[in-house]
């Protein structure tokens, strides 16, 4: 299966994603520039992190105004996998493919580091992790506080849609949510960055099972 790694103006971390998915894990992927793109022939879509449109107005908000955005929404409806990491999660929320919104970190600053998250292994993106495992993933964002009303948060939890949960109250996210999947189970958003944790020498290897699960499960589709 072949993934398209989408780049909007300002996207900067498409290379991290391509390196992790293709060079390290051995999956097939291409970096696709938003203009004149046709993504219908790909088997999966990834929106990497980086300040699309300079994060102006609101992170992810302006990507919604591109012609590619409509294609992404249509692509998601086909049931094929759509993944957004970091600012890519912002874009998916802005497109309405995932519920919720993002607030600025409680520090009001951009923050970088590593954070512990508990993994829900009952998804096609995470089945290769050990059950209830806590992993450490790098993060880099200023708008990392996931906001959603309590009722929807409860629904997400009841439907098994919360994929990654912070083990503490990092970033003041509602229900400590770090990553969610849509009801159909094919659109995933995650704030920490698994693609920066696929090699011991760079950020550890806790992100590897994410890519392995994703490639294995979705190519068996």
């Amino acid at each position: 299966m072949k993934f398209a790694i989408l780049t909007f103006p300002g996207t900067s971390c498409e290379v991290d994603m391509h390196h992790a998915l293709s060079t390290v894990v051995g999956g097939e992927s291409e970096i696709v520039w938003h203009k004149d793109a046709d993504i219908s022939n790909y088997d999966g879509i990834i929106i990497p992190t980086g300040a699309t449109f300079g994060d102006y107005l609101r992170p992810g908000a302006l990507a919604k105004s591109t012609t590619l955005a409509n294609q992404v929404v249509a692509f998601a409806k086909t049931g094929k996998p759509v993944i957004g990491v970091g600012s890519g999660f912002h874009v998916l929320v802005e497109l309405g493919l995932l519920p919720g919104a993002f607030l600025m970190n409680p520090s009001l600053k951009f923050e970088t580091g590593k954070v512990n998250v508990k993994v829900n292994t009952n998804t096609k993106f995470t089945s290769h992790y050990d059950e209830n495992v806590v992993i450490a993933l790098p993060y880099a964002h200023q708008f990392g506080s996931y906001y959603i009303d309590e009722k929807t948060a409860q629904q997400l939890q009841d439907n098994n849609q919360v994929v990654f949960t912070y083990t503490d109250e990092s970033f003041n996210s509602i229900a400590n949510i770090a990553g969610v999947v849509n009801e159909a189970g094919n659109v995933l958003g995650v704030m920490p960055l698994p693609e920066r944790a696929v090699e011991e020498i760079i950020g550890g290897i806790d992100g590897l099972p994410f890519f392995e699960s994703t490639l294995k499960n979705w190519s068996e589709q």
């Binding site: 103006p9 300002g10 900067s12 971390c13 290379v15 991290d16 390196h19 992790a20 520039w33 203009k35 980086g50 300040a51 449109f53 300079g54 994060d55 102006y56 600053k109 951009f110 923050e111 970088t112 580091g113 790098p138 880099a140 200023q142 960055l193 693609e195 920066r196 020498i201 760079i202 950020g203």
Partner: protein, 734 residues
């Protein structure tokens, strides 16, 4: 409003307002062959400013060693280039943005990062890392706390949005920088040799293109301003500051990196200080041609801009590009892909003139050599300041310390020594996933993608030593930078510098500049690290008082094999702790002296370059054999601080015994020293290589115990020392 006539410029001495002296004006008139009009005198004043011409510092800069077997491009272009093997090269440069940062720290620091990134990608290199160097007051004053917060936020914002990781940096706090911060940014890029570009405007008839942001009335006369002292208290006539847009620069960068593969590209240069003027005049002068531009074609953000305003604007994110005639559409299409405005604004001529047309008239016609090459150069008077002999005559003696533990904790809380995580946690240190060692160790390390090589980088300068003894202090700055690279497993390969000094018109300041340059040069030769690029920032003064002389050095090292990367954190209990080098009674300019006495005096620590070079080679050899678990150098605060910092990262402890007089053993800042930890099984092999290493103890689990000759000097849990060190800067900013 009517512009003054050429005669008025002369009669009313308007050039004085532009920072030109009467002698300089007379020289300009003589070179020009007639009275320069207002636009023309604007061109002269900008190009002859210290910032663009280095007129005061050139005689000093000529002392620097700039050649070496790896050097592909030395000083004179946007950035220097060194060979790193496999047809690849590292490209880097450090720049100051001190004056703008004193006024508007967020914007000033952000555009500093933006400018130096453009210097790197204009050479055809993809920027892979940012490094910074900050100097601020000691944070007791609200203005200095504000300056730190805003400057960090500004640099972080620019780097994070453009997606270039910040992987190293350093900060020193001293009241000499109060309200006059130093904000130096360094960018490092990578390229393949065949993609190397230069800022050349050659080939008669070739097209001059303008690409990037529109030109506005921001930053006009910025080059002149940054060459003058900032009036902090009475800022009534401040120019409009240029603001940066990292998003636009990201697009510009991607377009330029695509452009460098196009055969029709002749030359490319950033419109930095003095904007259109410097880029056009320098590109033409370097190539031995002229340039004619029609200013009506310049994309303008505001209405009714005059030629003077357009030529002197320092609007950010703009590039001047020369391409083969006929290729314009193809080149413009590259920029169009990224939504960047690009258009033809002129062409290359053979008359070695910068000719500007506006509304159908020639509004300026000036020799490009007069502007860019034949600027006045001054041999400024130099005089040894009275303090120097006084300091040199002082005896070295250890300060009185009664409670060693309390003193160590107090030192760990000093902002210059304390953890800088409050700062670096705001930077995306991992963008593009090649960061092997992020900030917090001796140096940052980045992987050269697709290879097993790495680049280590650091910035350093202890200006207190430079003030006490500029020559020795200059040597120490180079040696410390090299030590930090060595401690990461890298071999130093080249240096960039940012010479931040007070007014060169003060003979004592000029003496500091000369002497420190001598020290730097000598150390660069001894440690085999030529200077390939740099920047000079003079007149850093507040209310007539110069800052400490601060020749900040950015150094890059090559790691041949990423398996040799070492960090400063001890790895496991049971490893043996070694110290390389004996402490002498050296407290001049030390953090302890400043803390206890509120000022510095005496001699700077001595430095023997032969000893330094040998120890560096030995330590690197041991690291390359895989015999070293952790490595760091002994710097501010002395050995006690270095020992603590070695075990903070992995929350270990240590039990060591030091010999000699206690205060000296614990807190002296004697140079050329390292703290290394070695696994038990490697002890013999290690000692055979690092002959100056002395075993002082072992790494333990969670307690720090430092013994002297007569029993325990300092003991406590690692966490009590670590907490003091870790939270100090955040605490000072509350």
């Amino acid at each position: 409003m009517l512009e003054p006539t050429a005669q008025q410029v002369k009669d009313e001495k308007l050039y004085l307002q532009l920072g030109m002296t009467e002698e300089e004006y007379d020289l300009a008139v003589q070179m020009h062959g007639r009275l320069p009009n207002y636009t023309e005198i604007g061109l002269f004043s900008a190009m002859w400013s210290e910032h663009c011409s280095y007129k005061s510092s050139t005689p000093v800069l000529r002392r620097f060693p700039t050649k070496g077997e790896r050097v592909l491009q030395g000083p004179g272009e946007g950035a220097g280039i060194v060979d790193i093997g496999d047809n690849q090269a590292a490209v880097f440069k450090m720049e100051s943005h001190n004056s703008p940062s004193a006024i508007e720290p967020f914007i000033g620091a952000a555009t500093g990062a933006g400018g130096v990134l453009r210097d790197v990608f204009s050479m055809g290199a993809r920027p892979v890392a940012l490094v910074n160097s900050l100097r601020l007051g000691d944070l007791t004053e609200p203005r200095d706390r504000f300056l730190l917060k805003e400057a960090v936020a500004g640099m972080a914002s620019y780097g994070n949005i453009i997606g270039v990781p910040t992987i190293a940096g350093e900060v020193q706090f001293d009241q000499c920088y109060s309200k006059r911060p130093l904000v130096n940014a360094m960018a490092v890029g990578l390229l393949n040799h065949e993609d190397m570009q230069k800022g050349l405007a050659s080939g008669v008839g070739n097209t001059v293109l303008y690409a990037g942001a529109k030109t506005g009335r921001d930053g006009i006369n910025g080059a002149t301003m940054s060459s003058a002292e900032v009036a902090v208290e009475e800022n009534n006539e401040l120019p409009v500051m240029q603001a940066g847009d990292p998003y636009l620069e990201k697009l510009l960068m991607e377009a330029c990196l695509e452009l460098v593969h196009h055969d029709a590209l002749i030359g490319i240069q950033d419109m930095g200080a003095a904007g259109l003027t410097s880029s056009s005049a320098e590109m033409a002068a370097k190539a031995g041609f002229g340039v004619e531009m029609n200013l009506d074609l310049i994309p303008q953000r505001e209405e009714g801009m005059t030629p003077y305003e357009m030529m002197l604007s320092e609007s950010q994110e703009r590039m001047l590009i020369v391409v083969q005639k006929g290729s314009e559409d193809e080149i413009i299409a590259i920029f169009d892909k990224y939504g960047i405005e690009a258009c033809a604004v002129g062409h290359v001529t053979d008359d070695k003139l910068l000719r500007l047309l506006h509304k159908g008239e020639v509004v300026a016609e000036v020799s490009v050599d007069a502007l860019a090459e034949d600027n006045p150069v001054y041999n400024k008077p130099s005089q040894e300041p009275a303090y120097f002999a006084e300091f040199q005559a002082m005896e070295n003696k250890a300060p009185q310390v009664t409670d060693y533990k309390e003193t160590l904790v107090a030192l760990l809380k000093r902002p210059t020594i304390a953890s800088k995580e409050w700062i670096y946690n705001q930077f995306d240190t991992q963008a593009r996933a090649n960061t092997v060692v992020a900030p917090g160790s001796s140096a940052g390390v980045i992987r050269v993608a697709g290879t097993n090589k790495g680049l280590a980088m650091t910035s350093d300068c202890n200006s207190r030593y430079v003030y006490l003894d500029p020559e020795t202090g200059g040597k120490i700055a180079v040696a410390e930078a090299a030590r930090n690279l060595i401690c990461s497993g890298a071999e130093p390969i080249a240096v960039t510098d940012c010479l931040n000094f007070g007014s060169p018109d003060k003979p004592e300041v000029f003496w500091q500049l000369e002497k420190s340059a001598d020290g730097i040069s000598e150390a660069c030769v001894a440690l085999n690290a030529p200077i390939i690029s740099g920047n000079v920032s003079l007149s850093n003064e507040v209310n007539g008082k110069p800052i400490y002389p601060t020749p900040t050095l950015g150094m890059v090292g090559l790691i041949q094999d990423l398996n040799h990367v070492v960090t400063s954190d001890a790895k496991q209990a049971g490893d043996v702790v070694y110290v390389v080098g004996e402490a002498q009674t050296e407290f001049g300019g030390s953090e302890l002296q400043q803390m206890l006495e509120g000022k510095i005096a005496g001699k700077a620590p001595a430095l023997d370059l032969a000893v330094e070079a040998k120890r560096q080679q030995d330590v690197l050899a041991a690291i390359r054999k895989g015999l070293v678990q952790s490595a760091s150098d002994v710097s501010e605060g002395g050995l006690a601080v270095a020992l603590c910092e070695a075990v903070f990262g992995n929350e270990l402890g240590l039990d060591v015994t030091l010999t000699g007089e206690a205060v000296t053993a614990l807190f002296s800042e004697t140079q050329s020293r390292f703290v290394l930890t070695v696994a038990e099984e490697n002890v013999q092999a290690f000692e055979a290589i690092v002959t100056d290493a002395k075993k002082v103890g072992v790494v333990t689990k969670s307690t720090i115990t430092i013994n002297g000759e007569n029993g325990v000097l300092i003991q406590g849990t690692t966490s009590e020392f670590r907490d003091a060190w870790k939270g100090a800067i955040a605490c000072l900013l509350k």
